[in-house]
């Protein structure tokens, strides 16, 4: 169930600029009370995309989410993104 919740949060942030801004201001507050595991919650707050990927977050939404809210340098992110996912192969993304 919570894999679906992760996808739903990421999608909301991709589609809605106000949600993206709210998440960037207070990620923990944004996801407070939602049905997530501790590991998912922590990975979302930290934008720990390799962990989210490993847990089966949908790759298309994850990519859009990270590109939208990443606080650091985008070029550096894009250079390392695939490399950081590679150890996890292709996790099942079905909900």
């Amino acid at each position: 169930m919570s894999r679906y919740q992760v996808d739903k949060i990421m999608r909301q942030i991709v589609l809605n600029p106000a949600s993206a801004e709210a998440f960037q201001k207070d990620a923990a507050g944004f996801i407070k009370g939602l049905d997530l595991t501790d590991q998912e919650r922590e990975a979302l707050i930290k934008i720990d995309y390799p962990t989210l990927y490993k847990l089966g977050a949908h790759h298309f939404l994850l990519n859009g989410f990270v590109m939208r809210v990443w606080p650091g340098d985008r070029h550096a992110l894009m250079a390392e993104y695939s490399k950081n996912l590679a150890p996890h192969g292709y996790p099942d993304v079905s909900t």
Partner: protein
Amino acid sequence: MAKLVEIIGVTHNPFLPGLIAKNAEPTVAAAAEDYKGMQEKMVQAKPDVLIVVASDHLNQWFMDNMPAFIVGKAPVAEGPFPWEARSFGLAPYKTPVDVDLARSLVRDGFRHGVDFAFSEEFMIDHAFTVPLNFVRPQMDLPIVPVWTNVMAPPVPPAERFYAVGRALREIVEGLPGNQRVAVLSSGHLAVEVGGPKRSTYSADPDFDRRMMELIKAGEGETVVKEATWERLCKAGNVAAGFLNYVLLLGLAGKAPSATGLHFPESTAAVNYMAWDLHNGGGK
């Protein structure tokens, strides 16, 4: 009876409009030429309406309520989504929907083994607007949007896409009146987005060449056998978009297609296929 006059399958890479505008590289220029050729084919075919088959990138059809195949029957189709326009610099597209034909597809689908879902409220995302802006920039042709689920597993298998294509042809050719109907299917070959294989061109050139050879030879049934979920996943994490081409193969029957395939250096494979039925093709 209504007549099928043109069938075109083409990619919808959202970076392509920008690359073409910049005349980025020879293979992109070749893709631009192909798009011009498709635009010309569509003019020559003189369609009254265009059925557009494409995916939705989880923008509106989502895992809360995911249709396998859904027909849009609101009066107007418009897109892309604001975030896509912002991220990729995409031009808007807006055109009327042929609501009568949309209703016929749903109604007659039941008799042809396809239970299409339908929607009265939707937008079309870049999978529609990118090819439409190239192939019909005039925005003067009514469309019927048909979405397929190629994003959220379980995705229907290739056999099902092929059968839906065949059913679409039977439905169109069984319609009363003398409407000229064209079909545009928006898909792609081996593509990976946001996965370990951040490829600079095709995510799997062997898959691309093999499939395009089979399509050119009219070997649709072989494509169906080979385009298994496992093979598609190996080709790329969003390569299931290829299934929209498989739907066209069902529509075209055993007819060989004109095809084009380019491997640019800096973007995904650009490809197209066309069956010029109005011109004696597709037999």
